[in-house]
């Protein structure tokens, strides 16, 4: 089966002009490769500042203006160019962004979820996705500042599943949620995958990744250090890189080692 997403040797570099107008190139993601199959939840695990959000934005061609990207991204077997990404964004590829700042502070939640569409079908769909994540219909009329952190996160997830995406890129979707809500959202990712979507699940939490993902990519300072089935992280066998072995040893259940 062709992977829904395949990233090959992706590099993202920031150009900064420092003192004396000298240009400085800052590589933030270096030659990163990964694939996501349809029906698969692939987790990307990395510490803070590893470049996880950049990877997510880079795939969508939404990097800051001072960033340059190189490498190959294939979506559904064909190169994902900037033009193609513009067409697919919000239709086939959905992003679940990292924080509340991704909601427009001046716009009501319902209008943001529906992207301004007011037809009856969109309204019904909006109510359905809200209730799926345990949010009352009344939340539609609220502004982002009237949401708790966990509610805002669920709103962001609701935005992503408004239309049935084939690829979901979730950038740390669960911090701030209680264990039950987090579990419900993760099981929903599994459900979407079972229906044929690919999920790229970005997190800093290896334990969480083990519970939901089929495959785990360990990512450090912008580079892939290990790509392994999540079962490898259950037993610790087959992990080759010292960093991923250290991560594995740090899992609570391996405390005694």
């Amino acid at each position: 089966m062709t992977p829904i997403l395949s990233v090959d040797k992706l590099s993202i570099t920031f150009t900064r002009y420092s003192r004396g107008l000298s240009r400085e190139e800052m590589p933030s993601v270096r030659e990163l490769s990964l694939t996501v199959e349809p029906g698969q939840v692939a987790a990307v695990v990395g510490e803070s500042g590893a470049g996880k959000s950049l990877l997510a934005h880079g795939i969508l061609h939404l990097l800051p203006r001072n960033a340059a990207m190189s490498g190959n991204i294939l979506y559904d077997g064909m190169p994902l160019t900037a033009d193609r990404a513009r067409v697919l964004r919000g239709r086939e590829i959905a992003l679940i962004p990292q924080g509340v700042t991704y909601l427009d502070p001046m716009m009501r939640v319902g209008e943001q979820i529906r992207r301004g569409r007011g037809d009856e079908a969109s309204r019904a769909r909006c109510r359905a996705v809200l209730s799926r994540y345990g949010l009352a219909a009344e939340v539609e009329g609220r502004y982002p500042f009237e949401l708790s952190g966990g509610m805002a996160r669920r709103v962001l997830i609701a935005c992503a599943v408004m239309d049935n995406p084939r690829l979901i890129i979730a950038d740390e979707p669960t911090p701030g949620l209680d264990a039950r809500s987090a579990a419900r959202i993760l099981s929903h990712f599994r459900e979407l995958a079972e229906q044929g979507a690919g999920v790229l699940f970005i997190t800093h939490d290896l334990e969480l990744a083990c519970t939901v993902a089929h495959k785990i990519v360990v990512f450090r300072s912008g580079q892939t250090v290990e790509e392994a089935a999540s079962s490898a992280f259950q037993t610790g066998e087959g992990l080759t890189h010292p960093y991923s072995r250290a991560l594995w040893r740090a899992l609570p259940k391996n405390d005694f080692l």
Partner: protein
């Protein structure tokens, strides 16, 4: 409700302090002015031919010999009772002079205010939307040049082009010279207000455009615009940028009242436009203390009213204030 009352009370106290401070500053500046009101208003030659008694009476009229503190407190006491005195130059009650001058200036100020706001906002949005590209560079370049040009110099330039070379617009005044008051048409008034209004508008628009552009760029770089793009939204400018630029735009628009009034002083002087600004200049140079104080207080009041209006509009536009107040 308690919150609103407290807010209003605080505003009123601040306004009282502000008016006190502004009137005192104006008075002290005027007191420190090296111009002798007798010499400027009556003239060296006329003074030379007068008897000492006549001069003493004139000195009394212009308040030259009374101590400064006494004059200020006297003015303040009268003003608090609602008596703003009689203009020394025009020999009519100060509120009457201000009222007449303001009615001349009113349309000029209003047009300049509305035009500069609209033009500035439009250009700022355009530049921000095209940031880094041609239209942005052009708009920013023009605005930088205009905003570093003094308003009176701009006025002289426009005067030269439109009145001296092209001869399409009048050189000055608010009505044709020598025309009877009731024979002046609206079209004539507009023609006379056009150049001063244009000068003020252009000067004001440049600053507003530059500020708006920065705000637009900030919004375009924000996380929520990135997310809107990630969701394939169209009309980002209308849906997200306008909404989020609205608050700073309101602030800029109402803060510009003071700049428009300040600018009008010099611009009216250049165009000999008999408005409030020109009266302020005459009062300042001629030592007409009651009139200058009256104008100072009146304009401070206008500026303060503008700020208050901005605060009230904020409460309507910003959901954080609107909904916060509704809940509390």
């Amino acid at each position: 409700m308690k919150h609103r009352l407290q807010f209003t009370a605080k505003k009123l106290v601040r306004m009282a302090l502000l008016l006190l401070g502004v009137s005192l500053t104006a008075f002290l500046l005027m007191d420190a002015s090296p111009l002798d009101p007798l010499q400027t208003n009556i003239g060296q030659a006329a003074l030379g031919s007068m008897s000492p008694e006549q001069i003493a009476r004139l000195e009394d009229y212009w308040g030259v010999n009374a101590p400064a503190a006494e004059r200020y407190l006297g003015w303040l006491g009268d003003a608090l009772r609602g008596d703003f005195g009689v203009s020394l130059l025009y020999r009519r009650p100060v509120p009457e002079v201000i009222g007449q001058r303001l009615s001349n200036s009113f349309w000029l100020l209003l047009t300049a205010w509305v035009l500069s706001g609209g033009l500035g906002l439009g250009l700022g949005l355009l530049a921000g939307a095209f940031r880094g590209r041609g239209p942005d560079k052009m708009i920013r370049g023009c605005c930088l040049v205009v905003s570093s040009t003094p308003a009176f110099w701009l006025a002289l330039l426009l005067l030269m082009v439109f009145s001296v070379w092209l001869k399409v617009l009048p050189v000055g005044l608010s009505v044709p010279a020598g025309a009877a008051a009731d024979s002046v048409t609206l079209a004539q008034r507009l023609r006379h207000a056009l150049l001063p209004g244009l000068t003020l508008s252009v000067a004001g628009a440049a600053g507003i455009a530059l500020h708006t552009r920065e705000k637009v760029v900030d919004v375009l770089d924000s996380d929520y615009v990135l997310f809107a793009r990630a969701r394939g939204e169209g009309h980002i400018l209308r849906r997200h940028v306008l909404r989020n630029v609205a608050l700073p735009a309101i602030t800029l628009q109402f803060a510009s009242i003071s700049e428009i009034i300040g600018g009008s002083v010099l611009v009216e002087k250049v165009f000999s436009y008999p408005g409030l600004g020109q009266a302020a200049v005459s009062a300042g140079l001629g030592g007409d203390m009651p009139l200058l104080m009256g104008i100072t207080v009146a304009t401070a009041f206008l500026v303060f009213g503008g700020n208050l209006a901005a605060d009230l509009l904020y409460g309507i536009v910003d959901p954080r204030i609107r909904r916060g107040a509704a809940a509390g």
